[in-house]
């Protein structure tokens, strides 16, 4: 009996706990019900559907065992989509995070003078993805597009590509837009973290003779490690389940060159009337995102524990 609660009689303490648990349970219940109906149950239903052949409208679903999964394993388009997703993951993290960080540092160092830029840099994130997609479709237009005519006007005509029509280029054209849209998001996350670093740290560092670059690499970055890994996980998961901009700009084409797992799932389930196989793709996507996210989480947690 050394703890401070030792003065409370055990009986009362137990009752207080039960009441507490009950209250917590009641408060959480609506959320649980909501999640069960709209998240858990659909997941279970999707998994079940992935073992059937169903066109999505027929009253009967034909169970086919693992046939859909066998098909998935040898489905070139799915694996191409998976590879495209990985490309987006890698490029998103490599491009969005550093630029986001650079902008955040710029805003942080710039102080009040940069208030206008804070807003301006944030604009892309405020625009609806559909609007962004259509806007860039026009920018990439090979005849009238701003990008093409801009490059030609600058005498850089040799750089002009068939931005959205060339199977080797299209994925990167879209990734550029994704980055344009999401860099502000990471900028804000990093900016918020940067403002949380006390000014004394900086003063102390500079009194000790640190340079700007010393200060950034040796003090700021280690302090922001948690934020950075959070941002990386967000970017990772976002990239794996990416759908909207690709759908608006290319619908995964031409000839699957920019196909993603999510667009492929949508096409199968709703355009080809293969709800069963579409559910298999959805479940595979679910498993892939889950496994990758959990392992990243595990690794970052181990990493941060080792460093504490």
């Amino acid at each position: 009996m050394t703890t401070s609660t030792s003065s409370t009689p055990p009986k009362r303490r137990r009752r207080w706990r039960t009441e507490y648990a009950l209250t917590a349970f009641l408060f959480l219940l609506p959320t649980f019900i909501f999640l069960a109906i709209f998240v858990v149950w659909p997941i279970a239903a999707s998994i079940q559907l992935s073992f059937t052949e169903w066109n999505g409208i027929s009253p009967t679903q034909k169970p086919v065992g693992g046939a859909n999964w066998v098909r998935l394993m040898s489905d070139g388009v799915f694996w191409r989509a998976f590879r495209n997703n990985l490309v987006i993951v890698v490029l998103s993290i490599l491009i969005q995070l550093p630029i986001g960080m650079a902008l955040a540092v710029l805003l942080d160092r710039g102080g009040r003078k940069f208030n206008l830029f804070k807003t301006v840099y944030f604009f892309p994130l405020l625009m609806s993805t559909v609007a962004v997609g259509i806007l860039f479709k026009y920018i990439y237009d090979p005849q009238f597009g701003m990008l093409t005519s801009g490059l030609r006007a600058l005498g850089l005509g040799f750089l002009v590509q068939d931005w959205l029509g060339d199977t080797d280029v299209v994925l990167f054209s879209v990734i550029a837009v994704i980055c344009w849209q999401f860099i502000p998001f990471y900028m804000i996350i990093f900016y918020a973290a940067l403002t949380g670093i006390p000014a004394e740290l900086r003063e102390a560092a500079f009194i000790d003779g640190a340079t700007e670059s010393n200060y950034f690499w040796r003090i700021v970055l280690p302090l922001l490690r948690g934020t950075i890994s959070t941002a990386a996980v967000l970017s990772l998961i976002g990239s794996l389940k990416y759908f909207d901009l690709i759908w608006v700009m290319t619908e995964g084409g031409p000839t699957n060159a920019s196909e993603l797992m999510a667009t492929y799932m949508y096409k199968k389930a709703f355009q080809s009337y293969e709800m069963g196989y579409g559910s298999t793709v959805a479940t595979a996507l679910f498993v892939i995102v889950m496994v990758i996210a959990l392992s990243v989480l595990f690794v970052t947690r181990r990493f941060s524990e080792e460093n504490e």
């Binding site: 199977t167 000839t255 949508y266 959805a282």
Partner: protein, 449 residues
């Protein structure tokens, strides 16, 4: 430790968001905003013995909604005690919504379709009422152009009523541009090749094509097949009655198509351009492209978007004949009658629903559709618009109207067709590979392996 908690929490939230997204099966973000639609799909509870009929349609561009509404209003005035609830949906959200509604056993009484393969898919799934007895009563079906009924007739039964419009793919061209270079409207394949060379030499794209949309490029392929081998080749392959998608005609059509691509016949970057946002029409309007193979709806689109172009520049001819082709050059590819309206078996009042459909395509409605620049699929329809009258003439003179492949085929095969034809255009598949992919998909679909 704060770090770990935050990242765990954030990751969990992100995971959750991921799951929600995956399993809500991605409501397409890429399409026009849906009208604030109530979920009035279910047969709503009738109040005071009032009969309620729900109807969905996708005629969202003016005057589409009025064309439906005026008929509904007249029907309700003549039939007290029957209430019609009309819901207009955007094209693409509709496709998803109808499937979900049917899968959930909750479809509207009356729903639109394009006939062909997708409608047959609904029919096979027991989601459509057989309308043959209604169509046979008083020979009502004789009101319609025969080609329109063939798109909704499966297993010798009629499953839909053709209502909205007729559209066939024709070769639009920019008249003054042809005059400027001393060219005639291409009547033969040789004419066409001369025109292509001339325009290429003058830095004008011979054809405007926006093939991200896929069905746009498919039109060229369908016409090539039809002109080369006639409609039977496709019919036999599609219905699996002794034909195959590896028929030499399909391969030859693919070769011709790639010849055109290699000759630079299509506008730059065509596989990335989107028809829905007007990227091919802009080329036409700007005089940067000379021709476009497109559905005859392009007439009213141009009239609305660019009246000046419509007045001075726009004209069209039939797709030219191929020198060694077996197909009748009067054949057309297109659709007669869509949208078609069908009645769901869950509908409590099918007789009233059919009566409502008769109002929607009665003489008054036909007249109004004609004024709106449409070609309702009824016999003896004429219009003052010379261009539309020309389309009507083409349809009447056509020995065969080939329905768009992607609507004729079951959806699964339709998608394969669109993908392979886009690949043909992108030169990423040979004609043989494309033909094989289509045939393999058909074999698998019909369980022939």
């Amino acid at each position: 430790m704060k770090t770990r908690k935050t990242s765990t929490f954030v990751s969990m939230m992100a995971l959750l968001a991921a799951l929600t997204m995956i399993l809500s099966a991605c409501v397409p973000a890429g399409v026009a905003p849906q009208p604030a639609a109530s979920d009035g799909a279910a047969a709503p509870a009738a109040t005071d013995g009032e009969k309620v009929i729900t109807m969905w349609h996708i005629q969202t561009t003016e005057p589409g909604p009025q064309l439906i509404q005026q008929a509904v209003d007249r029907f309700m005035a003549d039939n007290p005690g029957v209430k019609v609830e009309v819901e207009a949906l955007q094209n693409d959200p509709f496709k998803t919504k109808i499937k979900v509604a049917m899968g959930a056993g909750n479809p509207p009484c009356i729903f639109p379709s394009w006939g062909g393969g997708p409608l047959y898919e609904y029919v096979k799934s027991g989601q459509v009422t057989d309308l043959t007895p209604y169509m046979d009563a008083d020979n009502y079906k004789d009101r319609f152009v025969p080609a329109s009924l063939s798109n909704v007739t499966f297993d010798d039964k009629i499953w839909g009523v053709p209502v909205e419009n007729s559209a066939v793919a024709v070769l639009f061209y920019n008249k003054p541009l042809f005059e400027q270079y001393g060219l005639n409207a291409p009547a033969t394949w040789d004419d066409l090749m001369v025109a292509i060379e001339t325009f290429k030499a003058n830095d004008i794209a011979p054809f405007a094509l926006a093939n991200k949309t896929k069905w746009t490029g498919s039109m060229y392929f369908m016409y090539l097949v039809d002109r080369l081998g006639g409609p039977e080749v496709f019919k036999k392959a599609g219905t699996r009655t002794g034909g195959t998608f590896e028929d030499p005609v399909f391969i030859e059509a693919g070769k011709r198509l790639q010849e055109l691509v290699n000759a630079g016949a299509f506008s730059e970057g065509f596989n990335g351009l989107d028809y829905d946002t007007g990227q091919s029409r802009q080329l036409m309007y700007a005089g940067k492209a000379a021709m476009e193979l497109m559905g005859s709806w392009n007439i009213s689109t141009a009239k609305g978007e660019n009246p000046e172009f419509y007045e001075k520049n726009l004209d069209f001819v039939a797709f030219p004949a191929l020198p060694d082709g077996k197909g009748d050059p009067n054949n057309v590819v297109g659709t007669v009658g869509d949208n078609f309206y069908s009645i769901s078996p869950t509908c409590a009042y099918p007789e009233e629903a059919f009566k409502l459909l008769q109002y929607i395509i009665d003489d008054e409605s036909v007249k109004l559709r004609g004024e709106a620049g449409k070609i309702p699929p009824v016999k003896g329809f004429t219009t003052d618009d010379p261009m539309l009258q020309k389309v009507i003439g083409m349809i009447e003179a056509a020995p065969s109207v080939q329905l768009w492949y992607d609507q004729y085929l079951p959806p699964e095969l339709g998608e394969v067709h669109k993908d392979t034809s886009q690949a043909l255009f992108g030169l990423s598949m040979t004609p043989e590979e494309a033909a094989k992919a289509q045939e393999d998909a058909a074999k698998k679909f019909y369980g022939e392996q």
